[in-house]
Symmetry: C2
Subunit: 278 residues, 2 copies
């Protein structure tokens, strides 16, 4: 593992690190914010999964999460959204290939050799971070934006007891019935749609739900509402009697101006789950 | 004036607007955050001047200022750092020409026709904003980072009673004796160094000081300490008995991770000056 950069930030350290990934068979880069408390104790961790076209850097510089993570003494992980580099397959479209890994293990060519973001986020990166940093991997929570909200919700529901809490900003909520999903799941997983269901938050919510609290924020003026299909997830949460809240935020769009506006709430929500009620 | 974008943000609106600038003889773009209160009343305003290579966008997306401005009910202006576009002079160096206006009115060719950032920030843009938005131009404060800290301090000291308060993050504090300054002041203003003094915060502080409170934050591990010369300004502030504080922040560098870490303090400092002691 190599240190790309480390900047002091809100009393802690915002680092960027790269490493040779076995899951993705290429070098991967991630951001990690460690609060001041990590200098002398293990701290809990909140994962932030990013959306289409993003790298590890977008949320790290624009979401304003470090302020609140520092307040609560929580680490933040900002993974990349796909494998990258020469020899890694790509597509001219912004929503397929590099920058658009969709948090699945691809089984189809040309994606299968590198596009294994599920294993990378679920297994390889937590092990790496647990080994090298003062992070308590028994206290994890997860959030994300758009495609990353999809990733956060599907990982959280598929890995019971891994995450104390899950939240999402404008998640791709029902990809098996949306153009943000059908295209990518078809390309990465093939035409057998039965393999797609494990990567659809609405279907997972209907089937099993999440064993902790859920917080969803969705902008009411989001320019991608038709692709995100928040109403499907909201309905599924209510029908499942899922512990949590689905909030429609009037006037907000899909941008990081929306994400940053509600970041304080999300970090506080996860802190409550990670530290237990005070 | 044209609306480039408007995004809801912390209950207010983060807008980006462009207009034909008379001062700079080209189209100019600026960001303006209006808190929710601006929907029904005039709000005070905090100017944020950016550093070398920045546009209106850097601080708007990375400084995290909107959260605190929304808390206090203050507008934020994010001007560009120079004229831009075809027909506007430029230089291959990152620290001269476009992105490096240094907040002066150039008198020398090839810069004189467009590089009039002093007039743009001091006269044209405040008039435009006062005309089009619910901003109370009798309650202004100013801050900035690096070259923008230089701009904030020189404008504040040169325009008595304009600004209730001035602050800066890692300002270029003594440009007449630094390679961040001598090169640019020479290019824009010519070789007669007597014309440079009006654009040196340390010299202005020694001569006249500021008629309100001053707050300076400087990272102790800033990679540009030799170019910024914070010790010159600190000495001048103390010798002048200037109302204010110069703070050396151990371990912080020159990045927006530093700026965002102390933004809450700066906005609160300006709010106190703009609204009066509670």
């Amino acid at each position: 593992m190599q240190t790309v950069s480390e900047n002091k930030c809100f009393g802690g350290i915002q680092g960027v690190y790269s490493h040779a990934s076995k899951a993705c068979s290429c070098d991967m880069t991630f951001g990690l914010f460690l609060p001041e408390e990590a200098q002398h104790m293990q701290v809990p961790v909140l994962w932030y999964l990013s959306g289409l076209t993003c790298t590890h850097e977008n949320a790290m510089t624009k979401a304003g999460a470090q302020a609140w993570a520092a307040d609560h003494g929580i680490a933040l992980v900002f993974p990349d959204t796909s494998p990258r580099g020469e020899g890694v397959a790509n597509d001219d479209a912004y929503d397929l290939g590099q920058g658009a890994g969709f948090y699945v293990n691809a089984t189809q060519d040309p994606w299968a050799p590198h596009f294994r973001m599920w294993d990378y986020i679920a297994e390889e990166l937590p092990a790496l971070i647990g080994e090298h940093f003062a992070v308590d991997m028994d206290r994890q929570a997860i959030t994300g934006h758009s495609m990353g909200g999809h990733g956060a919700l599907t990982l959280a529901m598929s890995l019971p007891s891994r995450f104390a809490s899950v939240s999402a900003f404008a998640p791709i909520a029902h990809p098996t019935s949306s153009d943000w999903g059908r295209k990518q799941l078809g390309a990465y997983l093939g035409s057998d749609e039965s393999t797609w269901a494990a990567h659809d938050s609405t279907l997972l919510m209907r089937e099993k739900g999440f064993d902790g609290p859920v917080l969803i924020d969705q902008g009411g003026d989001d320019q991608f509402l038709d692709l995100l299909q928040p109403e499907a997830l909201s309905q599924a949460m209510a029908a499942k009697r899922q512990d949590g809240a689905f909030r429609m935020q009037k006037g907000y769009d899909h941008s990081y101006f929306f994400v940053s506006s509600f970041m304080e709430d999300h970090v506080a929500f996860h802190a409550n789950a990670l530290f237990g009620a005070v």
